[in-house]
Assembly symmetry: C2
Homo-oligomer: 339 residues x 2
């Protein structure tokens, strides 16, 4: 087991320092803003040191706000603070948000590998299902493991890599959905359960097995996905008679005013009412501050994971836009995630 | 006691609806962003209704992020979202941050009054001190009570209103400091203890009595201020040998890169090292994410209340800029707040 100091000297991620340095030197940049998810912030000194060692006189500042995804790019602060370059580490570019600033994306590829023992556990997990074909996707961190996993699975199954890079985000599973008709089950390479649960909601009905390089574990998420789906159906049921809504839209790549206006029209046409909030941080505290006896239900436009992962236990229903649409249009035959 | 529904029909604040409506109608504005502190968000439907009732076809959107002060004006989102007008309710303009957007400030004057009984308690509290003169300040909410309180106190004391409006903010006590040489003690009209504690740290050595219109209470904060001062002195002592620092700067009106550069130079000249963060939200979670064995101490440039009120119990010292300066310059003879 690595201890904290080993990790800080030799991080288990490839921060592509040479690439960052190359961009800085070619551009003659002097002032750099670096944004990373919370779990990578511990490497800020390492990254600063490695860049300064090679570039010399350059000002490195890190963004402290939570970077849940590249949807919340710190481009506004990069411009306001007069930075020459924004480096976003940990995600690839969000397809629906174009940076307003010069931005370099560094995915932070994991250096972790998959043991033979773990592969054998993966086969054990898949063996529990009667399946012929398996789709494989990954978070961007572990994308380099895809060829190996596809190869080893192909000894027993028909395998399909997710379309494009084969990468998924917490709210963006088009890569997995594209191969849905060909596969009986999915394997997702990722830490935590965040991406696996989102995948499950996007390809309902198919088993999802998580291959976790961090904990060296294989976890079948199928039952957990079913549990979450049942919670969501219950929330939709709870909100089905809602008349007065609070719509909370997001900022930057989480601003979906196009969808908000559509829901506003639906609410009006049913004789309901709504008030609108726009917020970068959407927490239980915000709902509590807004809440009154007038409010029947909430819709979070910003990020579909907020109602599902963070606000599912609020005492009034908090829905994703697609869930609200099911109620407001009456079309409840199919559950849609994310939108 | 008013119940929740009464409060929502007839709020205990003057939101100056007629003034807002007048500005909207004169400007022909169609899309308005309204920003308020968390405690006022419950009035969002009331405010929306009152404006729409008078203006008709106008889009009202509320900002959900915490508006601790007018230093964190939502001007960037007002511009990005294409709003015609930003209405900031609950604070007056922050003297060190100019809005980049068309902005109307509504202080939200309180409608609460002070009972004779409360006045008598105020005299009781002041009676415990041998004083001849009293300075009176208020948060902007209760500023309209100042003439009455000054008048009644003048029957027994020489009284001084804080300079200008007589209003203080959580980090801005120049109105109180300006009369410091003339007064033996202070009375502050405010809810909570936030403003009173800041006042005490700004005018060290003078008793501070809080007159609270919300709870109809008089509270002597002098001992609590002394306790906080002793905590701060202890933090300065704990950080006195710090070599490696994390500097966390803020955004908008909380960005103090001028002070940060000064501290950076001082750290370098003592042979120390630092990494720099810039963040709108500064919480214990952020410190935990950044923390490693390399870090000796933190300096929060953003808002001096964050180290004092929120992060005082972190396991490593978290200082205000002025506290860090005491260490880095060796000038420890006087405690400075806020800067």
């Amino acid at each position: 087991m690595l201890n904290n100091n080993d990790i800080l000297r030799e991080p288990p991620y490839d921060f592509e320092i040479e690439k960052i340095v190359d961009v800085i030197l070619r551009g003659g940049y002097k002032k750099i803003l670096i944004q990373m998810p919370d779990g990578l912030k511990i490497y800020s000194k390492y990254i600063r040191d490695e860049i300064v060692k090679r570039v010399g006189n350059v000002e490195i500042v890190f963004s402290g706000d939570s970077a849940w995804g590249s949807c919340l790019l710190d481009d506004v602060e990069a411009t306001r603070g007069g930075y020459d370059l924004l480096v976003h580490i940990g995600h690839i570019e969000y397809p629906y948000y174009k940076s307003s600033h010069r931005t370099l994306f560094i995915p932070a590829y994991s250096r972790l590998s998959i043991s033979e023992d773990l592969i054998s556990k993966l086969f054990d997990a898949l063996d529990l299902y009667k399946i012929n074909s398996v789709g494989v996707v990954s978070t961007i961190q572990h994308i380099k493991l895809l060829p190996e996993i596809l190869k080893v699975l192909s000894t027993r199954y028909k395998v399909f890599k997710g379309s494009g890079l084969g990468a998924v985000m917490g709210c963006e599973y088009s890569s997995a959905i594209a191969i849905s008709r060909y596969v009986d089950a999915y394997v997702i390479i990722s830490g935590g359960v965040f991406h696996g649960l989102g995948l499950g909601l996007s390809v309902l009905g198919k088993p999802v097995i998580k291959l976790d390089p961090y904990e060296s574990r294989v976890v079948d998420l199928t039952k957990e996905i079913d549990k979450i789906l049942r919670i969501r159906i219950h929330k939709i049921h709870e909100a089905s008679e809602a008349r007065n809504w609070v719509l909370i839209d997001g900022v930057k790549g989480q601003n979906r005013s196009w969808f908000r206006r559509y829901l506003e029209q639906l609410i009006k046409s049913r004789g309901g009412d709504y008030i609108v909030y726009v917020s970068e941080n959407i927490t239980k505290d915000l709902l509590i501050n807004i809440d009154s006896s007038w409010v029947d239900a909430y819709i979070i436009l910003a990020c579909p994971r907020i109602p599902i992962d963070d606000l599912y236990d609020f005492y009034k229903p908090v829905l994703t836009p697609a869930e609200a649409r099911m109620i407001l249009t009456g079309k409840k035959d199919r559950y849609y995630f994310p939108w």
